[in-house]
Subunit: 362 residues, 4 copies
């Protein structure tokens, strides 16, 4: 008779338990950041520079956490961020995560590096109908991947643009992380990836080979024009890039530094969010992710201008600790905390979470 | 023959001894804050951003710490903050605290969640004649509670408005805190609390049930008009809310975030105090609490605009360590430290503790 | 044959060795600050907010650390601060300190609370000709003390005004510090101190008794007019108080918070120094003390406007570790470090250490 | 059969391994700073106040890390900083370092205090053709040293001006560091150093002897006029000194505080860099060093205005851990990280690394 496992009771217990129970390799892959982890830490600590000034005695009856994004209804203004290789954490992989998200009516964005077949995941979760893709080295291959996702029933695409190469992943190198043989990006297997001619003279693999396979704004504009579904660009940190995304028809942007996994010393996402929202205007869908660990953090991100946020490592931890149940529980705790934050601060609706609810600390 | 217990000699010894001697459950309930405890810590560290610039060689003869508030005389400008369930810390509960406060002529605010009968406490302490109440779900029940307090001899009411629901009390959940069977809010037992119809569809307990039982500004204005005694509103953090309180006839406000027990990421009270005083004017009674641990902290709060302050956890610690005697000793140490701070900084009277005695550090 | 004791080789070794070798009681008395030690720490850390921008390739030949103060020549711009009861640290007490200071041609200010007879100390050290006094409860007693010092050959007086009562000395209380029977303020024994009538009603010992024995600006003006030697006021932290000192004929002021031993939360001395110098003008003798631990700190204090500085705890440590030799060695290390700082920053004379040699950090 | 040594895999592993494996004496000499190490630490932490805002989807094809400096081609915009006595770390000394730098086509600046003969080093490394010198006490001796270097094939000279005397090297004193008999500045042996007459009276060795042997701006102008090769001045921290260097014909300046080894409390180099570049204009060669530990740090320094940077302690660590191979590996890791930083931030060329790529954090 299997020992009954006691679920963590709080979000911090999930984070602690996950950190302890993971192998050093998985810990390095899932929880560490690029370089010295400065951007990853900055994402979290940026929230400590913001306070929520609650308002008292407002009428809060009949409020709700509901919001709409790209014409879609969100039960609460957050989604599961796309992350790779869920099967490293749970045998059911992305199916477990989709099941957990479904249980809480929270949308999940499936990563291009899903370790489970895209159709299997899609059918496991009604709320898993956003797909994240990377540029595949050429227009042709990229549109094929996009079409595959649309055909599988994914109605919204998220093109991640901030990771043209891997960052400096020292923690992974030191831990000796590598993918086990039975975990891979199964949905990408069928697509051809660029092959590089040998380097000549002082040529650089980065600038003389890889760089030629990377997309430009024109390529992305082309992609957006080709596909029938909305495409968001994920990984925007500069207001001008957000404006450019808007001008080429992107359905929105995700202010993100990839959870600090790519360029260490990139700014905290919360710090750059307001200037980006200022640039593209209050109606353009600006999402953000990075460092959100609590319901109050969701509140802060929204007050600073995000329409919704993505949650990465908290879901990683839920999945690692207790599979689909863990994902569901973490989502539930976040939802409840967020609802409590709204009530305590006097906000009945998402629209009430305005800029003047928060202020920056010295 | 009982072992003679050596009382702590300094405030820090009280705080350390209390922390050590409490059960993990009581420690979580009494000493932890909501969420990650950021607001609770911020309350304390806010004082570190302020310096007192002492003035030399002023005439200090015949000065005193005496002040007047709502026409009442305070021996020293601080009161015991209302906190729940003193019997968790000492068998005599609120009677012990009232006795200790009496010994030092310091006023005590009795919590609605007193674990001892309101009349018993009132008769144990002349200086315990302020009563704190929560909204009770309806105008009718709330006025009944207020009238019970007034009938028992409480001449000042404090309506706490910042805790419509419990905050995220993770430390309590993790420690498994729950009230023992013989400790409860005995004075509330007779009052009916709202009962909720089952939720339908996607309804939220918070917004579709609880929120309808919460008070609005109109309800509080009504309450103030009904009772014959002054009513202060406790839990104000925004200047506009303070102005609103003033306009509906509240006798004063307590700038408070409930000791960081409710909304984590709410601002430190000391940080918001000056703007609130600025808004309501120098004559309106603005009190504050949160993070005061030393006599110099009382001085700082007054210089930043408070007419008086409430002391929470230091009293918790005195009660936990040595019952009525501990409460009395902690109050005495605070009084003495405050008096020394006045003398060393060149202030003979409470009115001398002006804004220009302190300055903000970078 | 006594074990040969190896002297510390660096200032930090002196500070560490002293800290380790002192009894807990002496550690509390000599090295701790008032309250939570915040002002004491702030004194030191204030220096970390200032950088020295060195200038290159200037002509430095024939420079020196010499300076003049009140018409007196200082070999290097620092003096030994007055501190009480040297015999707690070394059997020879203030004589040891005077001998050590003599060896380095550094002036020593003898404390009113010297544990050795004033004449004995004076004759032990040519450079010990400044005397620090406290107000003695009345004009009469204070002038008697001053005259005793002048008669003993002290040509400069320093009246300490920042310690009308002891600060909150929790570390001493916790350590159970008290003076041993054979150590006392021998030079004050002959003077009568105020005796207080019993308190009546709600009277306060501080405001209704002690305060009446404290000096005002008028008393100090009177004292200055009476004595034939220059009198500096020690313990000034506000520009207006410095201006007042100047206007009543004080020969100078010492910007000091008594090494953080009196009012915790008083500002760091370095932070208030520039505004004070600004107020009284560049020619008025403004000295400072507090937190100076290195030669570069002396440089910084001078660049921020001090004419000279007093050194307290570093001398305490030298005396504690190795008596007269330790005092001499610590002074030597400070002198050498200061000389090196001048050379490395391109300053040949004390006058070259101007405000534009330093800048504040964010 | 010798045990196969596993090379460190990341830069931090080099730094950690070096720190662990060095003798306490070498650790004090190579890795500690002057005084309390504040300037050394500040050099590193200054980078934490700057963020890189990456730009997305730019065309990066055919970019490179190549740059030109004083008409010379640099494969990547950094050089090995001159540091003394490589033979303390590796038997082959500067030859090992030169070999390692050669392997990565990175230039090395040979220190005047090389522990290997200048010609031997020069012939070991094509890329080791910059020579660093100190003022030798007189114009004559200094020009002789410069000519020796030029004759040996060094085409660029770097005159270090920030270390007229040693700083306060407490860590070395405490560790008892001294040069072993078989390690010395072999190339300086033939040159006479100043001999000092005995001190008279209160004369100071620093100001009355050493200072007379130090160079002034005139001396350096003379030196620059004498030699046929470009001369950079190393150790500039003030804009006016940079302008003076420019005006006397220096080929460029190195903004440096000698890695925090000389004047503790000197500013972090990154903090003063922008004002210096502002002063001398965008075309004047301003290099910098201090605190660069990662490829992203090189990026930041360039964005803040440096044309190239020098790398000190990372090379120390590479040499200490694995000799020539270690130097080569550390250089490779820095090159790769820098290339990745360029790609991730959207910069194809060194000229793209402009001021607007970075922003200061609060
Ligand atoms: C282990 C891991 C793998 C990730 N893989 C992807 C990915 O495949 N595609 C993508 O766009 N983002 C990926 N991300 C970034 C996340 O989508 C998201 O931006 C980030 O996790 C948000 O920060 P947070 O973890 O602090 O919430 C990954 C993040 C983690 C932690
Ligand atoms: C254990 C505990 C219970 C409390 N219960 C109440 C309460 O019943 N009613 C109320 O208005 N405030 C309550 N408070 C808040 C206090 O009145 C006060 O605002 C807070 O303790 C002040 O902060 P401090 O503890 O840092 O001094 C409670 C505080 C604590 C620590
Ligand atoms: C143990 C001790 C005793 C002191 N006693 C006196 C005193 O008798 N009179 C006085 O004016 N200052 C006294 N001071 C204050 C010093 O004169 C001086 O202001 C302070 O030590 C300077 O700060 P520093 O210790 O950080 O250098 C004392 C300081 C210490 C540490
Ligand atoms: C052990 C050591 C010895 C050094 N010797 C010299 C030297 O002989 N000449 C010189 O100009 N700089 C010398 N430096 C300073 C370096 O050239 C360089 O300015 C500094 O190391 C840069 O800082 P970093 O170590 O943080 O990269 C030395 C630095 C170190 C760490």
């Amino acid at each position: 008779m299997p020992e009954q496992i006691q679920l963590p009771r709080t979000l911090n217990e999930y984070y602690d338990r996950a950190r302890e129970s993971m192998s050093p390799q998985n810990r390095a892959y899932f929880l560490a950041g690029a370089g010295d982890g400065r951007t990853m830490s900055a994402n979290e600590s940026a929230f400590d520079h913001v306070s929520i000034t609650p308002r008292m005695l407002r009428d809060l009856g009949g409020g709700s956490t509901e919001t709409h994004l790209l014409g879609q209804r969100l039960a609460s203004p957050f989604l599961i961020a796309p992350f790779a290789y869920h099967r490293l954490l749970d045998a059911a992989g992305e199916v477990a995560t989709a099941t957990g998200s479904q249980a809480q009516s929270i949308k999940m964005i499936l990563s291009a590096q899903s370790s489970v077949d895209i159709n299997t995941v899609r059918s496991a979760g009604d709320d898993c109908d956003w797909f994240q893709l990377y540029w595949m080295g050429s227009r042709q291959t990229t549109i094929e991947l996009a079409q595959m996702a649309v055909a599988a029933g994914f109605g919204t695409l998220v093109l991640t643009v901030d990771a043209p190469v891997q960052g400096v992943r020292d923690r992974e190198i030191e831990a000796g992380f590598e993918l086990p043989h039975d975990v891979s990006a199964v949905n990408l297997a069928r697509f051809s990836r660029p092959r590089f001619a040998p380097l000549e003279g002082t040529q650089s693999i980065v600038f003389d080979r890889i760089a030629h396979t990377l997309p430009t704004w024109d390529d992305v504009a082309w992609l957006i024009a080709q596909v029938q579904v909305p495409v968001l660009l994920k990984g925007i940190l500069h207001p001008d890039d957000a404006a450019r995304a808007q001008s080429i028809g992107a359905a929105g942007v995700v202010v993100s530094n990839h959870g600090g996994r790519v360029l260490d010393r990139a700014p905290a996402t919360l710090d750059v969010l307001p200037a980006i929202v200022e640039k593209v205007g209050p109606d353009y869908p600006v999402l953000m992710d990075g460092g959100i660990r609590r319901g109050v953090d969701i509140f802060v991100a929204l007050a600073m201008g995000a329409k919704a946020v993505l949650i990465g490592r908290p879901i990683v931890c839920g999945l690692a600790v207790a599979g689909d149940l863990g994902v569901s529980h973490v989502l539930r705790l976040l939802r409840d905390e967020f609802e409590v934050a709204m009530l305590l601060s006097g906000c009945a609706t998402i629209d009430d979470i305005r800029r003047d609810m928060v202020h920056l600390k010295l």
